[in-house]
Amino acid sequence: MKHLTPLNAKARRISADLAAQEEDVVALQQAPRPHVPLGCSLSFSPGWEVDATGGTAGLCQPVERDLYDCYVTCFWPVQVADHVNYSPDWASNCAAATKDWRNLDIVFP
């Protein structure tokens, strides 16, 4: 913290929490400055957890698409099916993700 000096135990806890956040994961649209990684949209992925209003209704693709893209190509750290060892067929019914994403299988870990 540069501008506020914590003066009691509670303020020092807040300060420590904020310091920890500096190295933390950043949400894609963390207000007020959006953190917009390039790349996901190029590989056909909406890439946003939320739309501009904070909901999911206005996403350019169904939110479920994120899962598939993480599975196939992406680095985005979301929990997806392990297509190397346990679920190699997870996307076998999903030839074209834009149309077939509903056919992605359900995986029980």
């Binding site: 913290m1 540069k2 501008h3 506020l4 000096t5 914590p6 003066l7 009691n8 135990a9 509670k10 303020a11 806890r13 807040i14 904020l18 956040q21 649209q29 207000a31 007020p32 400055r33 959006p34 917009v36 946003w48 739309d51 501009a52 209003t53 904070g54």
Partner: protein, 485 residues
């Protein structure tokens, strides 16, 4: 195409104060205290009248010479701490949550007797505003009940290495024999499980003898004396049933107590009432003429009309002026590294050091319970023997439904007027008992002293700020005085 939400900021909930020519802020949602720099004060100044858009705020800062990155960093810091917040953010409704049913007990107040050899005219136990219903109930606690209370305390204090027993009355020393038995029993019982018990008692001092004082000193029993000041003030209302004052009786006993009892601080607890409001004179008499280590003051509890002893607005104003004068003395001492004995500052300051943020005004019904001579449990000693407030019995344990009801009503989140008050982390609506006497509901905020509490809390914050600038090491002395409760 993604459109960005344009955030507009308003100032968050805070109480700003100045001390030692520096700018500070107290955050009621956390109980945190921060010092502000000029840039922060500048941002808060811009938000004084109306919300300002993020871009406009950042632009204003860069126009004043700050780099874009620094301006964004400043706004982010203020936003994360809560000094500014987006104007579409809706503050969550205060949550009235209950502690777990097995919340460990920390202290019991044993009303070893409900009898008293004095007849103080303002007494909450026997006076005009009494809520106790003593008819047909035991007047003295029996050894069996006392032992059951100790067993109950130790059983209910799982996870704690130390528990506390406060002896109370009536006049506590009218049942000194029981007190002595309880100390022996509790020490032995606690030792079986590697724990320990600390003790305190409150007394009117009329029955103190050298052997009693030596026992109290030997077992490190903390002693609080109820006393109202110099002779004319003490004898105004702290009288025997005959109307005779008690000052002359207690003076030599107090001198002996302070001379012989060196293991714990000896404190005076002053009840301020109509005509007994000169806190500066009272303090200096008790501190320097008698020798108490610490002196704490509280206005008498009474109803709206106050009978002939309550303090009206002028009386409370006079008390506050006296508090300010003693606060000046306290700060002068602290800047020299010396402790002053005015405990109303010390107690509040201790809570500010840790950043206490209370869900309830005190530990009543949480870590503390009162026990009547019959063994009935109550939220605290002020509710003993009041049928309406029984929370169980030492033999059968806590009535969890009644306790949950008491705590839900007493929760600061349930007191509407408190939700917008910056002093709520320390006050939490004030004394449950006073609320019941005044408003007929333990869960009612004590609205008659809100302004008083805010002015006093602001004063102690200013002391805190001054010490933070000029003698910060002194604040560290208070870190262990009081735990979060």
């Amino acid at each position: 195409m993604t459109t960005l939400l344009e955030h507009r900021y308003r100032a968050g909930e805070m109480h700003r104060f100045l001390a030692a020519e520096a700018d500070f802020v107290y955050l009621p949602r956390a109980g945190a205290i921060f010092a502000l720099d000029a840039a922060t004060a500048d941002v808060l100044g811009r938000l004084r009248d109306a919300p300002v858009a993020h871009g406009d705020l950042a632009a204003a800062l860069t126009d004043d010479g700050m780099s874009q990155a620094d301006a964004e960093g400043l706004l982010r810091e203020l936003r994360l701490v809560g000094l500014i917040e987006a104007d579409h953010v809706v503050s969550p409704v205060a949550l009235v949550d209950s502690p777990p049913a097995d919340f460990p007990l920390q202290a019991l107040v044993l009303n070893v007797t409900n009898q008293c050899n004095l007849a103080c005219t303002y007494c909450y136990e026997f006076g005009a505003d009494k809520i106790s219903t003593q008819t047909g109930k035991p007047k003295y606690m029996t050894p069996e009940t006392a032992r059951a209370a100790v067993d109950f305390l130790l059983d209910s204090a799982k996870g704690r290495d130390a528990v506390h027993v406060t002896f109370f009355g009536g006049e506590t020393l009218m049942n000194f024999k029981l007190l002595r038995d309880v100390v022996a029993y509790a020490d032995a019982k606690a030792a079986e499980s590697g724990r320990r018990v600390t003790y305190s008692l409150t007394t009117n001092a009329t029955l103190l003898t050298d052997p009693i004082i030596d026992f109290l000193a030997g077992h490190a029993v903390g002693v609080t004396v109820s006393i109202d000041g110099p002779e004319e003030m003490q004898d105004a209302r702290r009288v025997y049933k005959s109307g005779k004052g008690s000052y002359a009786v207690i003076l030599p006993r107090l001198k002996a107590l302070i001379a012989r009892h060196k293991t714990r601080a000896i404190t005076a607890r002053v009840t301020l009432s109509a005509g007994v409001t000169d806190v500066v004179a009272i303090y200096h008499h008790l501190k320097h003429d008698i020798g108490f280590h610490e002196i704490g003051f509280a206005p008498v509890t009474t109803t709206e009309d106050g009978h002939d002893f309550g303090l009206n607005g002028d009386g409370m104003r006079g008390v506050l002026n006296g508090f300010h004068a003693l606060a000046d003395e306290w700060l002068d001492h602290a800047l020299r590294g010396q402790m002053h004995g005015f405990s109303n500052v010390s107690e509040t300051l201790s809570e500010l050091v840790v950043g206490t943020n209370k869900s309830h005004p005190c530990g009543a019904g949480l870590g503390l319970l009162g026990v009547s001579p019959s063994g009935d449990l109550s939220p605290c000693h002020r509710f003993t023997d009041a049928d309406e407030h029984v929370l169980g019995h030492v033999g059968s344990g806590v009535d969890q439904d009644r306790r949950a009801d008491f705590l839900a009503r007493g929760h600061v989140g349930a007191k509407y007027e408190c939700t917008s008050c910056w002093a709520r982390p320390l006050c939490a609506g004030g004394c449950h008992h006073e609320a019941f006497v005044r408003y007929g509901d333990t869960g009612h905020a004590n609205l008659h002293y809100c302004d008083w509490i805010r002015e006093w809390t602001d004063r102690v914050l200013a002391i805190y700020g001054t010490l933070a600038v000029r003698n910060p090491q002194f604040l560290e002395r208070f870190a262990d005085r009081k735990g979060l409760s």
